[in-house]
């Protein structure tokens, strides 16, 4: 038995000549919550539907619990894979009541009628829908239909739960609430989950590990925090959260501190952190970029307020714009020839044209290499 619950090996999907999924591989462990994240058209839903068995891969293999379920010439139909799925449109059958929707799948498990009833009721309790069991879907709100769709998937006690943008049709408040509910259920039931979304906040809540996809392939796999702090590619760091990407040139490499000195439009050289896997993959003179998140850009009028005594990475700048957003101020500052975005809680009274100091913590400046997709 493989230790992985789901394995994708070099999976390719072409629609006619268009490559929707390009050589995707991943391993998913038991009980893990995986989120496929990316913009629309990145291949995340196609990947999910191949795992579900709704479409057939053009190439590569998919294994569920060590058993091959799809390859170029053999495919196990969805109903034989022991998966459940929650659909973007909910697909709650309008001609069946809530209880009938949930009980339908149990019929194929050859259960006794009384068992079906009992399991249906238990699941309805789980999603807090018990009193609506005899309603028809058209009488339910979007959020309630969502719960029915979830219950219909969970009642089968599936080995693996697939969710295809399940919250995208809900309004913002409900969406935020349901995120935590779904995550809570997933943890409570310990169910292996593959979740597709384009909403990065949602992804952060749901995921043990994120799979960031772009243009049919995987750009990075990792825990949400790791991906946010150490984005592997330009795409990843700009898709996950706000960011400042600065094009620069490597001036010097300092292996002892894992630092590079980079020359850019900022006016003076900046010291930038690099990671183990990056070392050796670049050289002095390379044109590369680095990024820093807006909340890591420290802004102050007095040097003493900046939490540093280093001379490195302190720049003089001019305020272009300062917007109050409630918990924070959103600033645009001009540093050298470049515009940076900063978010800080102490920018009271800053106005356009003010002279300020900007500190880019070298630990938070991350080097970006021009790397290909993960294979």
């Amino acid at each position: 038995m493989s230790k992985y619950k789901v394995v994708l090996k070099d999976v390719v999907k072409k629609f006619d000549d268009v490559v929707a999924v390009d050589n995707v591989s991943m391993q998913i462990e038991e009980g893990e919550s995986i989120v496929l994240l990316g913009p629309s058209g990145c291949g995340k839903t196609t990947t999910l539907r191949m795992i579900a068995g709704l479409i057939k891969p053009t190439d590569g293999q998919i294994f569920i619990e060590g058993k091959e379920v799809a390859s170029k010439d053999r495919i196990i139909p969805p109903e034989k894979r022991g998966l459940s799925m929650v659909f973007q449109s909910y697909a709650v059958w309008p001609h069946k009541t809530v209880a009938e929707n949930i009980g339908y799948g149990l019929k194929f498990k050859k259960l006794r009628r009384s068992d079906i009833k009992e399991r249906t009721k238990k699941t309805l309790d789980l999603v807090k829908m018990a009193e609506l069991a005899d309603r028809y879907p058209t009488e339910l709100s979007g959020g309630q239909q969502q719960r029915v769709a979830l219950a219909r998937a969970l009642v089968l006690e599936p080995k693996i739960l697939l969710l295809d943008e399940p919250l995208s049709n809900l309004d913002a408040t409900l969406r935020e609430e349901m995120r935590f509910e779904v995550r809570d259920l997933q943890k409570r039931l310990g169910i292996t989950t593959i979740y597709v979304t384009h909403d990065q906040e949602e992804a952060m809540v749901i995921a043990d590990r994120l799979v960031v996809m772009n243009d049919g392939c995987i750009e990075q796999i990792g825990a949400p925090e790791e991906i946010y702090k150490h984005s592997r590619t330009k795409f990843v760091c700009s898709f996950i959260g706000l960011t400042n990407i600065i094009s620069a040139e490597v001036e010097g490499i300092y292996p002892e501190g894992h630092k590079v000195r980079m020359k850019s439009g900022l006016g003076q050289d900046a010291s930038v952190n690099y990671l183990d896997w990056q070392s050796g993959n670049f050289a002095t003179g390379d044109a590369l970029s680095f990024y820093i998140r807006p909340e890591d850009v420290a802004v102050s009028k007095n040097k003493s307020d900046l939490s540093t005594d280093a001379e490195n990475n302190v720049f003089t700048a001019k305020v272009l714009n300062c917007t109050f957003l409630g918990p924070i101020y959103d600033l645009r500052v001009q540093v050298g020839e470049l515009n940076l975005r900063a978010q800080t809680d102490n920018a009271i009274g800053y106005e356009k044209g003010d002279e300020v100091l900007v500190y880019l913590d070298p630990e938070k400046c991350c080097l970006l290499l021009d790397v290909a997709c993960l294979l």
């Binding site: 579900a52 196990i76 969805p78 998966l83 799925m85 697909a91 059958w93 339908y104 194929f108």
Partner: protein
């Protein structure tokens, strides 16, 4: 364990096999219904009676006096009918869609009824009303009003008149739908720059819906060329042969099948040309502004003109619906239709005739029902499978399947009937004169109706419903049975009823394909008329009309909108 795996694998394979067998049979049946007869039609048109290749048939179509005159007449009749339909349909559509004219619902419903009454029944009604001597209107003009007038339905104007009453709804409904679906902000914008409401309607809306008008005109013209019912009942006695009646005559003894096939070709070519020109025209007019918006523009207040428009609409409705139905009912209750409807002349015998087992009329009603039920049922089943292949499985060649399923929609019934007869009277089918060949013909023509309706319904149903079924453990077959079919139910019912209803009134194919013993209602109407039994003919006409009207209003109940909008 190993054994279990093998058994499971075997099950997977057989299931896939059932699915692919079902799909392959559907394609084969479609081929037999559509490709084969059309192919035979063209092939035979290039053969002489000995089976050798020849172009003589085509030469004959354009040179043999009887045929070339018929072709010319067809074009003349269709052209006049198109003009007349536009003249009637356009103002009515404008009045209903854009003005504050009262009684709009009544007018719309009545137009639907006039569309449903088959043209040969409309023709019979007008023979009863405007027959040269005994026609009831003529009698009224002569005896009551003492006018020296004698209107004669048997002539070119009469033929065009009857066809117009039958086809003007095509223009009316097309325009009403386009005007209703049009984004009202275009008109509103015109109002904002200073146009009066009627100016914006004429200057902005009408040009914007001109593609719909064009489509309507093409349809009327093609239907005019392909029409058979009115030309055979009015045109033939008036010595105005058209191409469809000529084809019919070529089948009487001694039959000249190859020439008939060649005669059908010009109708098909015209149809193709018409549809291509419509495509080209629509392709250029990319500004079509049909949006799904429910908001309609404010109706235009036309002041006193609304009564003028209403009077016009009511007059059309009276002439196209009330008068013909009244005269048919009246005639069906008389012993001798030419005499006044007095107590002495009143009888229910004509209705008793419908239930007389020794007379062929009863048999024809049974045959019509059997054919209608069978054709509707088979068409619906076939189209569920084909639509599923096209819409859900997205099989390769889906466009070809779509084309094949729809091609007979525009294919003239008379021409298709010739193909069916030529294709299935020969070995290994030998079906001439059987109900089966009629069923094949009906299905071939009407599969397109079922296909369009079922595909549209299927498009509106999210495929995720079925996929969700698969994910909770239902097989392909179960997901279709438990989820797709129940969700499609109203669409399937509508398709069934419509196919059933149009089969009940089918004349041109029935008359080519029937032999004594398997008459249908339409054939009975025609034969009774031919025998001079106008009372009996009117009685069966009443039955067909009532059932057709019931069918469309039943459909309207099911879907909550009129048939033309589906």
């Amino acid at each position: 364990m190993f054994f279990r795996t093998i058994v499971n694998f075997y099950h997977d394979v057989t299931r896939e096999k059932i699915k692919s067998t079902i799909m392959a049979s559907a394609v084969a049946i479609l081929g037999l219904l559509v490709v084969y007869p059309i192919g035979i039609l063209f092939w035979k048109s290039f053969l002489d009676q000995a089976g050798n290749f020849t172009l003589a048939n085509y030469v004959a179509v354009f040179t043999e006096p009887g045929l070339s005159v018929a072709l010319k007449n067809s074009l003349i009749v269709a052209s006049w009918t198109t003009l007349a339909c536009a003249a009637v349909g356009m103002p009515m559509a404008f009045a209903v869609a854009r003005t504050n004219m009262p009684l709009k619902t009544l007018v719309t419903g009545a137009v639907l009824i006039s569309f449903v009454i088959p043209s040969f029944i409309q023709a019979i009604a007008w023979i009863l009303l405007l027959g040269p001597r005994a026609g009831l209107i003529n009698v009224f003009l002569r005896n009551t009003l003492h006018l020296p007038l004698n209107l004669n339905i048997f002539g070119m104007p009469g033929l065009v008149f009857v066809l117009t009453l039958n086809f003007y709804p095509l223009i009316f409904y097309g325009l009403v739908a386009a005007l209703n679906n049009m984004d009202p902000s275009y008109e509103e914008a015109a109002r904002m720059v200073g146009a009066k409401s009627w100016q914006s309607a004429i200057g902005i809306s009408f040009p914007l819906v001109s593609p719909a008008l064009f489509t309507g005109i093409v349809l009327v013209f093609l239907d005019g060329v392909a029409a058979f019912g009115a030309p055979i009942t009015i045109g033939l006695p008036a010595k105005i042969p058209v191409i469809t009646t000529r084809i019919y005559q070529l089948f009487s003894y001694p039959p000249r099948y190859e020439l008939a096939a060649a005669c059908a070709t010009p109708i098909v070519v015209l149809t193709a040309l018409g549809l291509i020109s419509q495509r080209l025209y629509l392709g250029r007019k990319q500004f079509i502004t049909v949006t799904g918006k429910a908001s309609h523009p404010e109706p235009i207040d036309v002041g006193k003109w609304k009564y003028v428009l209403l009077a016009f609409c009511l007059m059309v409705v009276f002439v196209a619906v009330v008068l013909p139905l009244m005269v048919l009912v009246r005639t069906s209750l008389t012993k001798v239709w030419g005499l006044a409807l007095t107590a002495k002349n009143f009888t229910l015998a004509n209705y008793q005739m419908l239930f007389d087992p020794t007379f062929y009329v009863m048999r024809s009603i049974e045959n019509s029902f059997v054919l209608g039920v069978a054709a509707a049922t088979f068409c619906v089943i076939l189209c569920v499978v084909i639509c599923w292949m096209v819409e859900r499985a997205k099989v390769k060649g889906g466009e070809i399947l779509t084309f094949l399923s729809m091609v007979t929609f525009a294919f003239p019934a008379m021409a298709l009937g010739v193909g069916i007869l030529l294709g299935f009277m020969v070995k290994p089918f030998n079906l001439q004169g059987t109900l089966t060949i009629m069923l094949i013909g009906y299905m071939s023509k009407r599969v397109s109706y079922a296909f369009v309706l079922i595909r549209n319904t299927m498009k509106q149903i999210d495929p995720e419903f079925e996929e969700a079924g698969r994910l909770v453990g239902a097989s392909w077959f179960r997901s279709i049975k438990d989820i797709a079919i129940p969700l499609l139910k109203s669409g399937l019912m509508v398709a069934w009823i419509l196919v059933f209803a149009v089969c009940l009134r089918e004349l041109s194919m029935a008359i080519l394909l029937y032999l004594p013993g398997n008459e249908t209602m339409a054939v009975s109407i025609f034969n009774l008329l031919d025998d001079g039994a106008l009372e009996g003919s009117a009685t069966v006409s009443v039955v067909v009309s009532v059932m057709s009207i019931a069918a469309v209003f039943g459909v309207r109940k099911i879907v909550g909108k009129s048939v033309m909008e589906i």
